[in-house]
Amino acid sequence: MAKANVATRDNPTSGNRLANASVSIESAPPASRISFRATPKGAKDFGKTLDLDLPVKPGQSTSKSTLSALWIGPDEWLIIDTKNPIDKLMPRRENANFCATDISHRNVAFIVSGNGAENTLCASCPRDLSLSAFPVGSASRTIFGKAEVVLLRTGKTSFRLECWRSFSPYVWDLLVDGAHDAHI
């Protein structure tokens, strides 16, 4: 069988990186992702399988090692594993109480960190991202310029920003634009 070079994953902003005195932005390494939809029971069951409870409160996330579960909607979670392959993550069989869809390649992530991270994001995101309104561990789907994104606050001054693959050059350019004003 002919083989293509599929050992590595490639996306439009792979390897992008920028840093100034206030903020650093970099394209995150490829990750495994599941869009997980479920009834409350389904969510509980899958949490056991993952050994990570899925968050039940709006806007929250849970994480353990390289695995994170983000509350997106009342029956929707985004599961991200920055290390393990998708096969290890996906539930083995279908279940009437949930639906897991592999979206590993649908999304591209950026890591935005530094004292100016919040300002960088606020150039294009209308949400209140102050620590009091969006504390560490907060997760939300929102809008970034004209692109839909998922935002996860991983630390006081660090965020993970996920967007759809084809929007990543646009989101990158917006982040670079925001980084310019990050010190303000």
Binding site: P58, I72, G73, P74, E76, P126, R127, S140, R141, I143
Partner: protein
């Protein structure tokens, strides 16, 4: 830009995350096929578009993704109430109370 309270996220969110989805409480009957032309016209084409209190649907499309209902005053743009899809229409008395 409005701030809209999403009843599923239980939080205020900027309007940019939402999409308006037209008038609320228009029931699609189970027996669609048996509707008369007049009933179909009313159900599909006729809308109130009031000046004042409007019962409307929104979708938190760039947020939790859920459709929900809202009572908004179209002059002041104030949201008097938001509630989840499927919850019953507030009574006129309740709406009058919210107006106060």
């Amino acid at each position: 830009m409005l701030v809209i309270h999403c009843p599923y996220c239980q939080a205020d969110r900027p309007e940019l995350e939402f999409a308006n989805a037209g008038e609320a409480h228009i029931v699609r009957p189970d027996n669609m096929a048996e509707m008369t032309d007049a009933e179909f016209e009313k159900m599909f084409f006729v809308r109130q578009n009031p000046k004042g209190v409007n019962l409307e649907r929104w979708r938190h499309i760039h947020g939790c993704g859920r459709f929900f209902n809202a009572i908004r005053h179209t002059v002041s743009d104030k949201f008097l109430k938001v509630y989840k899809a499927g919850e019953s229409r507030p009574s006129d008395a309740e709406i009058a109370e919210l107006m106060k």
